[in-house]
Symmetry: C2
Subunit: 360 residues, 2 copies
């Protein structure tokens, strides 16, 4: 299936709108993409998944490319995000990962010996399928649609590796952190090297921006975030920055951590839906590129509610401030297609109207 | 078993330290209690639970009194909280509640008809066991230990009633909220009447302060909180305030909602652990009585970490500002007794030292 005509509002011949937003430029409209946009809420994605399991999908460049493109074709998002999973590099480090369907780790990391045994994989050797997917995507994607690479942030990956699965309170992770802080730091340091290598390889293969997903760091107090997480995130973002590529830092439940996340040095800070854009502008300043932050639950609401809430976010983000529209968390599998259509239409039309540039 | 000699640092003959903290008075020390302090981490609690199921325990005043007193005897907390469950009034409204062990609701509330069918129970008639427990506790508790009553806040109770159980994203609740806002408001209005009646009855029976648990409201965006939740919480807190009793408002994951929760008018705002006390002081002012906010996960840490983190919270809360020490969320079942002992000792000794009053 060929990619449809660009429905994005961006003008040809310029750098993609999304990338200019990452750089904090004044824009004629607000770009939009949504986390987990290639996923189970799409019938065309479910059809692909009927034929292969999740890990095979991640590891087959043709299929990963296809599902990455699906939401671009359907909705005209301004950015595509590489289809993969944050645990792919964990597997490459020598940890056995399964999806049933939630991720499970057969040999969790619990102490010093396991941390030392973890490999620092060469992405070109160990995760060639990811880089091949990136190259295929750059060939397939229209010029105005940016390609985002990604990785899990060290704490979020460590939490999976220590618990062996998702958790409500991450008691084991915190226990290791408090009881063996040196081992914990060694684990996060190793992960930050692996993630940096991995993101650099993605950048070399062609991604134009990267997002670091630190979904679970919102379970930490600000003081623990500052001590155990921030230095490792900063190191990764510095390496991405040296590659000249914009970075986005995302966390969930991080309303109390935003200043610290800001200190880590991402180009764009990605917000969950539980903070007000206006408050965040007051805290971090008008020129800070922000991404977000609609409650994913709103996609199931009537069109009038979607419009109203999207408009308020556009207003609160500031009409002259750098903003990338997104959800505050990944789209849920039950979300209706029409809700996404309404959202994309509203953001594209209204942001162009509000930013006062009807010329394109 | 008789209650042990007071180990609290409060002086006899005065209003309990905890209540003076709620009123924002200058204190000689920082009072402490912890959410879910009567619970499964205590061997003496587990022994009681071996003989009865959870609902029977809630409904048997002698047993509910006994488990309420257990942590007071053991640790010398400055306040006891009535042992009960936030779904007790839900059951009295005509909704079937089971615990397996997580709460489950057999006939969830999904639309207008179910909302209209909900009763507004008379607490004296329908929940006499709660009021009897309160009266027994007031007889048993030493004068320096305050008794806290509580209820679930309307949104949190509604979320259980609509979903039928806990949930990750509360999709059904949000769907009802967005699709049938009038029905949703009718549900929350009914709940706010029921909760107000219930708290007034507890106050009449003898509780000296009340805490409103709005655990799930942290899953809402500030704008939805303001529109759908705030008016109902405010109405309840106004009725409590008219009874002359201090109120505490607790939410989890509410780092982005604190100003709005403050507007709802509680005497004390109870924080989760994912916001910094110092930041909250900047946002809400030095004289705002705050409760919190140690990460429950820290109780499993070595004594030195517990001490260090407790001390930092005491400092950040402000040595001359009203503060009640608590965890940022309920204590988890696996928490070690020694961790709690270390915490209570640190808070009592260090706060007295830091507040500069060694006279008692």
């Amino acid at each position: 299936m060929a990619i449809s005509e660009p429905t994005s509002i961006d003008r040809p011949g310029r750098e993609p709108l999304f990338l200019r937003a990452c750089r904090g430029e004044d824009l004629e409209a607000t770009p939009i993409w949504i986390m987990r946009q290639a996923g189970r809420y799409l019938p065309e994605y479910r059809r692909v998944r009927e034929t292969v399991d999740f890990l095979t999908l991640c590891k087959t460049p043709e299929l990963a490319t296809e599902v990455t493109l699906q939401p671009i074709r359907r909705f005209g998002f301004d950015a595509a995000i590489l289809f993969s999973d944050i645990l792919i590099p964990v597997e490459a480090m020598g940890v056995e990962v399964r999806f049933n369907p939630a991720p499970e780790i057969a040999n969790p990391v619990r102490g010093e010996a396991e941390v030392h045994a973890l490999a620092r994989p060469d992405p070109v050797q160990e995760m060639p399928f990811v880089l091949e997917t990136v190259r295929m995507l750059r060939r397939e994607l229209p010029e105005h649609v940016a390609l985002i690479g990604f990785a899990g942030a060290p704490f979020t990956m460590a939490a999976y590796m220590v618990e062996g699965h998702g958790s409500k309170d991450f008691a084991r992770t915190k226990s290791l952190m408090y009881r063996e802080p040196l081992v914990f730091h060694a684990l996060l340091e190793k992960l930050s090297l692996v993630v940096s290598d991995y993101l650099e390889a993605q950048i070399e293969a062609g991604v134009q921006a990267v997002q670091l997903f630190d979904t679970w760091s919102g379970l930490l107090s600000p003081r623990d975030y500052e001590e155990y997480v921030l230095p490792h995130v900063r190191r990764i973002l510095e390496r991405v920055s040296r590659a000249g590529t914009p970075s986005i830092l995302y966390g969930n439940g991080t309303g109390g951590l935003l200043e610290l996340m800001d200190e880590a040095g991402p180009d764009v800070l990605s917000l969950d839906w539980r903070v007000g854009m206006k408050d965040v502008r007051l805290r971090l300043g008008d020129r800070r590129p922000l991404q977000g932050n609609l409650d994913p639950g709103v996609l199931a609401a009537p069109a009038s509610v979607i419009r109203e809430q999207a408009l308020q976010i556009l207003h609160d983000a500031g009409l002259r401030s750098p903003h990338i529209f997104n959800l505050g968390h990944g789209i849920t599998p039950g979300s209706p297609i029409e809700g996404v259509e309404e959202l994309v239409r509203t953001v594209h039309e209204e942001s162009r109207r509000l930013r006062g540039d009807g010329s394109s």
